[in-house]
C-alpha cells in the first residue's frame, strides 16, 4: 500500500530535481557572457531533462501503484542553438569575419525558469509538511 513514506520519497525527488534546475539556471546566468570554454567556442546554455521513474528505481513505473512515479534528472542537455553574433573585430575570440559568438543565454528566460523552480521547490516542501501533518493527526486516533 502506498503510504506516507512513499509520498515523501516522491516529493523529495521533486525537490532534488528542482535543485538541479536551479544549478543550471545559476550556471547559465553566470556564464551569460562567456565566449571561451575549455571545449572551444562560447558557453552553451544547459537544460535539465526530467524523466519519471518508478518508486522502486529498479522496476519502473508500476500500474498497480496508480502510476505514482518519482522524478529523476535523466541528463543535462546542452542547448546547441547558435548564440548572438556581435561584430567586435578587436575581441580575442572574434572569428575571421570579426564576429564574436556570445552564449545563447536569454536572461529573461532564465529568470522565468528560476521562479518556476523556486515555486516547484516550495510546492514540494509543502507536500512533505502536509504528509507530516497527516500522520500526526493519524496518531491522534488512539487518544
Amino acid at each position: 500500500m502506498l503510504g506516507v513514506f512513499s509520498a515523501m520519497e516522491v516529493a523529495a525527488s521533486g525537490l532534488s530535481a528542482e535543485r538541479t534546475r536551479m544549478n543550471t539556471v545559476a550556471s547559465n546566468l553566470a556564464n551569460a557572457r562567456t565566449t571561451r570554454t575549455a571545449a572551444g567556442g562560447p558557453y552553451k546554455r544547459l537544460d535539465p531533462v526530467f524523466e519519471a521513474i518508478g518508486l522502486d528505481e529498479s522496476t519502473g513505473v508500476m500500474a498497480n501503484q496508480g502510476g505514482v512515479s518519482k522524478v529523476k534528472v535523466a541528463r543535462i542537455q546542452e542547448d546547441t542553438r547558435q548564440g548572438m553574433m556581435v561584430y567586435e573585430p578587436g575581441h580575442p575570440d572574434a572569428n575571421a569575419q570579426g564576429y564574436v559568438e556570445y552564449p545563447n543565454v536569454n536572461a529573461v528566460e532564465e529568470m522565468v525558469n528560476m521562479i518556476t523552480a523556486s515555486r516547484a521547490y516550495e510546492a514540494g516542501v509543502t507536500t512533505i509538511d502536509t504528509v507530516k501533518a497527516m500522520s500526526r493527526s493519524a496518531l491522534d486516533i488512539g487518544k
Partner: protein
C-alpha cells in the same frame, strides 16, 4: 446492552423471574436456553475471545510497524484503538457481572 433472551429476561437480572420453588437461578438460565436464547456463558466467552483476538492482532501489527515491514499508520492506530475498546468492554462487563453477583448474594440472605 446485553441481549434479552427469548423469555424477555435481561441477562443481568435473572432473579426477576424467581418463583417460589427453591431451584437456584442458574436453572432459570438453562430453561431460557432451552427456549432458544443465548447462554450467557457462551456470550461472555465470545466477547472475551474476540477481545483476545483483537489484542493479539494489535500487538502483531504494532510489532510489524516497529520492525519497518509495515507502513500503514492509520491502520495500525485503528487496530490498537479497537483492542483498547474491546478490552475495556470486557473489563467493564466483568465488573458488572461481579457486582450483580454480589447483589444477588446479599439478597439471598
Amino acid at each position: 446492552m446485553l441481549p434479552i433472551d427469548g423469555n424477555g429476561i435481561s441477562m443481568l437480572a435473572p432473579h426477576a423471574r424467581l418463583e417460589l420453588d427453591p431451584t437456584p437461578p442458574v436453572k432459570e438460565v438453562s430453561k431460557a436456553d432451552a427456549a432458544g436464547g443465548a447462554l450467557f456463558e457462551d456470550l461472555l466467552k465470545n466477547v472475551v475471545g474476540q477481545a483476545n483476538d483483537s489484542i493479539n492482532n494489535a500487538e502483531a501489527v504494532g510489532k510489524e510497524f516497529a520492525a519497518g515491514t509495515r507502513d500503514d499508520i492509520h491502520g495500525t492506530m485503528l487496530a490498537l484503538s479497537k483492542a483498547d475498546i474491546e478490552l475495556r468492554l470486557v473489563g467493564n462487563i466483568r465488573n458488572k457481572v461481579v457486582d450483580a453477583f454480589y447483589e444477588l448474594w446479599r439478597m439471598q440472605i
